[in-house]
Amino acid sequence: MVEAGDHKDPAGDQITPGRARGRPYGGVDGDLEEIVRRGRGQLRAWAAKEALGKAFAHLFPAAMVVPCLALIGNLIGLVGPSLWPFATVTTAVLALVAPFVIVAVYALVVVLREKTDRRVCLALFDKLLDLRGRLQAADEFLSRGPVSPFEHAAVEDAGPFARQALETELPPVRTPPPVLKARRWPLGAVSVLVLGAALLLGDAPSLAVDAPVALVDEQPTELVALAETAMEEESEPPVPKESSRRSLDGQRMAAQSEPGSEGERDRAARSQTGTGDTRSSFAKSSTAASLARQAGKAAAGASGEGSSKKEKPRERPAKPRRENPSRPEEAKEEEPETSKGVSGGTGRSSGSRTSSSDQPPADDKARNDEAEGDATDDAEEEEDEEQKGASTSKPMLNNRKAAVDRSLSPSGLSDQENDQANGRGGPSGLKKTRGVAAMLLGVPMPDHLRGKSNPGRIKVERERADPEPKTSLAADATNRGSRQESIGYLPHLALAPWMQDTVRDYFLAERARDLAGSDSAPTTTNSSGGT
């Protein structure tokens, strides 16, 4: 066995320890640096191959990216400007190339993010040459400066092994070949199908080419005029004048009398929804509430006609059947009012609410009543109702706060500030909890318990008294007599099974012996008697 201190390098040559090379520790530090460099390169190559293998396994999912993007872009292009700018050939090329690019980029990112520790590089050679951590230990002692004699010796001891490590060729990096998992093969077929669909959609003509152009070309002249009129009337008192209403009605009539007025109203309504600021500015004004509401109603009615053609087809044919031609404007005004909770609400209130569910039930009921009145064709009643609503209830709707939030979401979940918080449990940020109130008892409970009245103060009095001895007679002892009856069940020790068998055998044997004796005795007697 090699004695400590008599070190030989792997070639068998005697190694002079210490500073034989003129450098501290024989240049171990430089050798270690070179080992670290080689090890780092090896580990990076290893990591790169491993990352490529892992990324290659995701090739089919990566192949889905471009076809999906193309499909989505072309689907959007059906109703608007296409978001997929590439042609068919380019798309196909991209779909083929992109997966490999994604895989390569992924592997590159993994390699660049790989932080190879210096000690890991040394551990690679320690393990490869079975050096039992000599290189790692020497590097650690060198980095902090060897202190003890054994640390100096450990550094010097690592010198020949470091040179051996430098001369050792690292084995080629071998990683298992990348495998495309069978369960991901269908993704390839799916990507091809998606790509085909995307290419077909890319060649298909757009379905919504004219509509946007028409919207852009046509100006919502009548609504703009209404808005301007409403702005002019802002300074007027809140009660609408008949003259202004007639002027508005006249304008509306003029608009309706034009050919294709209905389609124009639709387009005007669409454009009006795009200019919601105008309507909201109307709604903000409480003084010109009625005019603004009418303008909003007109816009909303127009949009309602356009949007709810399919939803409420029965209401639209009912309008031309009105027999009172003197008030066509009333019917036109009433039509959006009855058919539109959505747009009507939008026009009257802040303009931000678009859902009919936001309307309070009372408002819906009133609107339903209006619809019934419309069905009875009572124009006078409608007029009165309209005026009443316009003058009393609807201006109040403009100032109406948001409905009280009845949701039972736990408090504290939404800590966002809400401008509409009214301090009444509305949609404020923190106070949303209704759980406590809902859990209160519905049955009134008495808040006190009946009890006994206090007995009051207890008074204890002590009286001095001398003890008096009491005489007692001694009892004479009597004879209890003897017991005549059974004393009852007396438990006995339970015997073990083997002991029970032994006792049973013993008594059986005794009995057999007795029987044998009794049998033999008469015989003997008989025999003797006989003889």
């Binding site: 201190g5 070190h7 520790d117 890991v120 040394l122 951590g133 650690e140 054994f150 100096h152 010796a153």
Partner: protein, 336 residues
């Protein structure tokens, strides 16, 4: 002589003395190489050894032979259930003086020596077993108001029989933890029986020579403690000990299920000290993770307390240590 040369000289001396003692013990004890190595390693590292094996395997012979080889004050204590602490520590006895008077003097017990053979230690009551605690850890014995510091090197080598458990008292955890190694003495191989017969049934007597002494062993112990310990080896030892503790993040599932107690910090000390001896024996000047791994089983096996599930499923502490060694990897280790 440079500092490195000094270290080399000390390491060479250690290895030479170790080899000589081992050769002397080998004259009497046949086979059981790992047991002999373990006993010598524990003695050089400054620890105590618990030898476990069935009767007749040479446990007592090994320790008695070692005491002859190292020329240390040796005493043997045969533990019995009626033994009292005073029987091993010593007690005050009334003696007659030269002038005809009487005085109380302290009569030392067998515990006060250099090498103690505590034979069948599990036959003594816990009261008597506890008398060893102070001697093993603090290297001193306290009787009444008298405290006797034990001379270095001090090494307790205890034996116990794992089979005859009737009338025995299992060692408490505090006692077990004080043993650096627990070595399992197994049956010899077939080839070793021939040598055993030759040495024990023949006419020739085997003479054991003193190859070292207490002073030299003290120097060798300081040599062991001077061995460098890199951060990687130290971290590996700590992780191994943590992995024996159920509930630890490093503990494998088998440890969490079958162990109720893990190793204490004494386990880390044992791993490092045992690893240093291994490094010196391997011509190295720094401990490596392989050295720690080599001594992990004798250091950790008696520090893991098995629970009922382990006993019901016949899971041994050795299996748990093997699982720990598989699950814990040295720092900066790379896969093959």
């Amino acid at each position: 002589m440079t500092t490195a040369d000094e270290a080399r000289a000390r390491a060479a001396e250690f290895k030479a003395v170790f080899a000589k003692v081992k050769a002397e013990v080998g004259k009497m004890v046949v086979g059981q190489e790992h047991v002999v190595d373990g006993v010598l390693t524990a003695m050089m590292a400054g620890g105590h050894v618990l030898l476990e094996g069935v009767p007749g395997l040479g446990k007592t012979l090994l320790v008695r032979t070692l005491s002859e080889a190292v020329s240390l004050a040796f005493s043997r204590i045969q533990f019995t259930p009626d033994m009292m602490p005073a029987d091993i520590q010593g007690t005050m006895v009334l003696t007659e003086t030269a002038g005809g008077g009487h005085e109380l003097t302290f009569q030392q017990g067998p515990l006060i020596a250099n090498l103690i053979l505590a034979d069948e230690i599990n036959r003594a009551t816990p009261k008597t077993q506890s008398a060893l605690l102070e001697a093993m850890q603090e290297k001193q014995v306290t009787v009444g108001r008298r405290t006797i510091h034990l001379e270095e090197p001090y090494c307790v080598m205890a034996t116990q029989n794992p089979v005859e458990q009737e009338g025995t008292y299992p060692l408490p955890e505090a006692q077990l933890d004080r043993f650096l190694f627990k070595l399992i003495v197994g049956y010899p191989a077939e080839s070793e029986y021939h040598a055993i017969l030759d040495r024990t049934t023949g006419a020739d007597d085997v003479d054991i020579e003193h190859v070292t002494n207490g002073e030299e062993i003290r120097q060798l112990r300081s040599t062991v403690r001077a061995v460098a310990e890199p951060e990687a080896a130290r971290t590996f030892a700590i992780r191994l000990v943590l992995a024996t503790q159920p509930g630890s993040e490093l503990a494998p599932s088998s440890v969490s299920e079958c162990a109720s107690l893990g190793s204490s910090p004494r386990g880390v000390q044992g791993l490092i000290l045992g690893g240093k001896v291994q490094a010196l024996l391997d011509d190295r000047f720094a401990v490596s993770a392989d050295d720690i791994r080599a001594v992990a089983l004798p250091v950790l096996r008696h520090r893991i307390l098995l629970n009922f599930r382990a006993q019901a499923n016949n899971v041994s502490a050795d299996e748990l240590v093997e699982d720990v060694l598989k699950s814990v990897q040295p720092p900066h280790a790379i896969a093959a």
